[in-house]
């Protein structure tokens, strides 16, 4: 992340200078900083609301029910987290909300899932395999109905806006599948560098199977 951050800023300043747009770049620093806080603040209410709903869903067993349904899928994809982890339910909620185009709700559920995945994570500063996979699934933007795009198309008088749904779904499925497969491949190549002096770092993946056995 350090290099990415540094590169983005260096490129912006150098190219901005070359294009004679340095003033715009400087203004963008201020407006960008302001925008980030606006985004975060606008999230407070939405986050609070959905986390509240989530808590009810959790207490009434809806999340357990959802995780049970999606278990065959999550067991294969997230094989490194124990099946009884609350993360499974949160991932299920995030996925459901995303699929129905409720991105407002999907973000709080996703953050909740990340927090649960972090609890299972050994190195707290480094993303675990499950976290990378979950992020990949979210960046691929799986959605059954692209509501915002449809709204724009309706706005310009597009005759049959729903014809866009099938191709969009096809594309999103391709990208989603690719993200999942690529994450699974890369986790074998790009392992966590253990910097904290853990006495006995368990080999990726296998350690979890051990814990599973103990808990049973």
């Amino acid at each position: 992340m350090n290099y990415i951050f540094y590169l983005l800023i260096v490129i912006s300043i150098v190219i901005g200078a070359v294009n004679g747009k340095l003033q715009d770049v400087v203004n963008a620093v201020m407006s960008g900083a302001e925008l980030s806080v606006k985004v975060a603040f606008s999230l407070i209410g939405i986050m609070a609301f959905w986390l509240g709903i989530m808590k009810i869903a959790q207490k009434s067993g809806i999340i357990d029910f959802l995780s049970k349904i999606l278990k065959p899928v999550t067991k294969v994809l997230f094989n490194e987290i124990p099946p009884q982890s609350p993360a499974v339910g949160d991932i299920a909620m995030n996925f459901t909300a995303n699929a129905f185009g409720l991105s407002n709700a999907a973000t709080p559920f996703g953050i909740k899932a990340m927090e649960e995945l972090q609890k299972e994570n050994k190195d707290k500063t480094s993303a675990s395999n499950s976290m990378c996979l979950f992020l990949g699934m979210n960046t691929a933007g799986f959605q059954l109905i692209p509501t915002t795009v449809l709204a724009v198309l309706v706005g310009i008088g597009y005759k049959n806006p729903t014809e866009i749904i099938a191709p969009t779904l096809l594309v999103t499925i391709i990208a989603f599948t690719f993200a999942v497969v690529l994450s699974k491949v890369l986790q074998k190549v790009w392992k966590v560098q253990m910097i904290n002096p853990h006495p006995n770092p368990l080999p990726e993946g296998e350690g979890i199977i051990d814990t599973e056995g103990k808990n049973d």
């Binding site: 294009n19 509240g52 480094s126 993303a127 724009v152 989603f176 993200a179 994450s183």
Partner: protein, 177 residues
């Protein structure tokens, strides 16, 4: 068909809320207390992600202001032309990974200027509809749990975006070309 989809869009949210609350009441969960208890964390989470959002959003804003995206789009133009990507859609291929509002802005522009019958509008619609803003999702999700070593997460996100662009062009060509 349109009516059914509009109905689903309209009802997805109220149905979810209604379902959760009703099941809660049936199961004798104190819904009001549990709601407010869960909602308490909203503030904390939103405040926690501010530093990460500032870092990413400022860097992306600077990049957009510098004109680097247009330069990259121009550099890629010959390659993208050979794939039958209309020139208007070029910036979208890059911007959609960086900023959701900008991507929607570019898409609205294309839709309004070129109209409902153009191939560019359809391709842009598919590209925007099938993607999520990779950098934003990364900042928010990893920021919330203070992850700084992201390993291959960004690579997966960006390559999936690329695959999304290629398949959008392919599907659009096939269906509307």
């Amino acid at each position: 068909m349109t009516n059914i989809l509009n109905l689903i869009s309209l009802w997805a949210l109220p149905a979810l809320i209604l379902l959760v609350l009703t099941v809660g009441v049936i199961k004798k969960v104190p819904v009001y207390e549990e709601f407010t208890d869960g909602a308490k964390d909203g503030f904390k989470v939103a405040i926690n992600i501010i530093p990460y959002l500032v870092a990413i959003i400022v860097a992306i804003s600077m990049l957009r202001a510098s004109g680097a995206i247009e330069m990259l789009a121009n550099a890629l133009a010959p390659l993208l032309k050979s794939w039958h990507i209309p020139a208007d859609v070029l910036p979208l291929t890059i911007v959609r990974s960086l900023s959701g509002s900008a991507a929607l802005g570019v898409f609205s522009d294309i839709a309004n200027n070129l109209g409902p019958d153009s191939y560019a509008t359809k391709l842009a619609a598919i590209m925007v509809g099938s993607s999520e803003t990779t950098f934003y999702v990364l900042a928010v999700y990893f920021g919330a749990v203070k992850i700084s070593k992201i390993r291959y997460a960004l690579l997966v996100g960006l390559l999936a975006d690329l695959v999304g662009i290629i398949s959008a062009v392919w599907v659009c060509n096939w269906m509307f070309g």
